[in-house]
């Protein structure tokens, strides 16, 4: 397995959540749900798993419009995401690398 590849993070729903969180500081729960096109309960389950792993932090705000839940990528989660994305990029790059040429001996045939 490629170094940095994170099996836990590679679950599509988790990777999608982390990708939505990466460019921002705090992101509202509803925006994540709409972006990854999932249900409240499915998102809640994945966010809990990510929080238990220390990859995200959850905060609840109260304002005039009601209770709002925000999710943030922790430094540990950000590092794991960066390592995982780099591992995926390496896997793709390796596939595009031209195959190595066989080394020819002075007498003729390839080794």
């Amino acid at each position: 397995m490629e170094p940095g590849f994170d099996e836990f993070l590679h679950v599509p729903a988790r990777l999608a959540i982390v990708a939505v969180l990466a460019p921002a500081d705090w992101v509202e729960f509803g925006f994540i749900r709409d972006s990854v096109e999932t249900s409240d309960s499915a998102l809640s389950k994945q966010v809990s798993a990510l929080a238990a792993a220390g990859y995200v932090a959850v905060r609840k705000d109260q304002d005039k419009r009601g209770r709002r839940t925000f999710v943030q990528l922790t430094p540990q989660g950000r590092q794991a995401f960066q390592r995982h994305a780099a591992a995926l990029q390496r896997i793709v790059a390796l596939a595009h690398r031209p195959p190595e040429q066989p080394v020819r001996e002075p007498g003729g045939g390839a080794r």
Binding site: A22, A24, D25, L88
Partner: protein, 157 residues
């Protein structure tokens, strides 16, 4: 993990990151906030020709409206970001640009339209109106500049 799946995951990550970035930019330049910020700019600039203490009162009100709109927008946003130095420079540069537009408008009002320094309309009012209109008109360009800044910051790919 095969390369095809890895590429598909990377494409999904890019698409989702772009969605968050687009939302950050969309919120920053939503029409009601742009119009209220332009109004704040107009009040702050237009009041410079008023007599004391009204010039200070008007300036403070305009600045409070301009700054307050930014704070309110951040508070209501569904995607919040840490303020980064490039963004601060962008906003300061933007303000400096509108001060220049205001000054040009003022000079043009005096030189071309013979508008007096005091009264209604005053040179400051003409300059302020020009700066406020320029602020609204420059929104597509500002949106593009902020998008470039947001793209540089956050997200590994």
């Amino acid at each position: 993990m095969n390369p095809h799946d890895a590429q598909a995951s990377l494409d999904a990550v890019r698409r989702l990151q772009d969605r968050t970035r687009d939302e950050i930019v969309r919120q920053s330049f939503s029409p009601p906030f742009v119009i209220l910020a332009a109004l704040g700019l107009f009040v702050a600039f237009a009041s410079t020709d008023l007599e004391r203490p009204w010039n200070f009162v008007g300036g403070a009100l305009g600045a409070a409206l301009y700054g307050g709109i930014g704070i309110l927008r951040e508070h209501r946003a569904c995607t919040r970001r840490k303020f980064i130095p490039q963004e601060l420079l962008f906003h300061l540069g933007l303000l400096a640009f509108f001060v220049v537009i205001y000054s040009i408008g003022r000079i043009a009002a005096w030189a071309l339209l013979a508008v007096p320094a005091e009264g209604l309309p005053s040179q400051a009012m003409v300059g302020a109106a020009l700066a406020a209109v320029a602020y609204v008109a420059a929104t597509p360009l500002n949106r593009r500049a902020l998008k470039a800044i947001v793209r540089q910051d956050g997200g590994p790919i």
